[in-house]
């Protein structure tokens, strides 16, 4: 019984300690995603050409290895 209580307490403490970090990471990820979306919408040509170039390079590397 004591053991279970101890485990529950430790889990609660751990959750309380980790939760703010998770929230911060979520907030950062959301902000990064928003800024990336804005950049892509503002420079569609650059992004598409860049993506095609990156894909081309990956395809070249994959075809050389295979």
């Amino acid at each position: 019984m004591e053991m279970t209580e101890k485990i529950e307490e430790t889990a609660r403490e751990l959750g309380a300690r980790v939760r703010p970090q998770i929230e911060e990471a979520k907030r950062r990820f959301s902000s990064m995603s928003d800024s990336a979306t804005t950049y892509i919408k503002e420079n569609p040509g650059k992004c598409l050409v860049g993506a095609i170039a990156v894909g081309f390079l990956i395809g070249k590397i994959a075809s050389r290895r295979g």
Binding site: I40, K41, P44, C47, A51, G55, A62, S63
Partner: protein, 140 residues
């Protein structure tokens, strides 16, 4: 006073003047043609852009469009028939199966279990009713 341009040492002053004029005209024509080609190419690209509605697509699905461009580049780079593609496809199929088939299987299993439970309950009820009729029959 004579200059080298009017009377060069090889004695082709008149011919060179005409040649230079011709060359100038030709250069002008080439420039004009290049301008026309550039205009046409730009028009064609803008037509293609309008037809594909790239700006609208990027506005609606920014990450999807970039992913599609990445895929196009990958195929153009010759990565289509490679082990990496095989691995990616296998991973996609596995994830797709997990997402699509597992809920279906779960539902089927739940239905099966509920049917079995109903059958068990029906059998138990039948056995109970038989027992009651037997006990009633034994009573004097």
């Amino acid at each position: 006073m004579e200059t080298h341009a009017e009377n060069p040492p090889n004695g082709r002053a008149a011919g060179d003047g005409a040649g230079a004029k011709k060359l100038g005209k030709r250069m002008e024509r080439v420039g004009h043609t290049a301008e026309q080609v550039w205009d046409r190419t730009r028009d064609s690209f803008s037509d293609i852009g309008d037809a594909l509605d790239i700006k609208g697509r990027v506005d609606r699905h920014p990450f999807g469009t970039v992913a599609a461009a990445l895929g196009i580049g990958y195929v153009l780079g010759g990565g289509l028939f490679t082990p990496l593609t095989g691995r990616i496809v296998r991973l996609g199929v596995r994830i797709g199966l997990r997402l699509a088939v597992l809920p279906m299987l779960k539902q089927e299993m739940e239905e099966l279990v509920s049917t079995m439970e109903d059958e068990e309950q029906g059998k138990a009820r039948q056995a109970a009713s038989k027992r009651t009729t037997r006990t009633r029959g034994e009573e004097p």
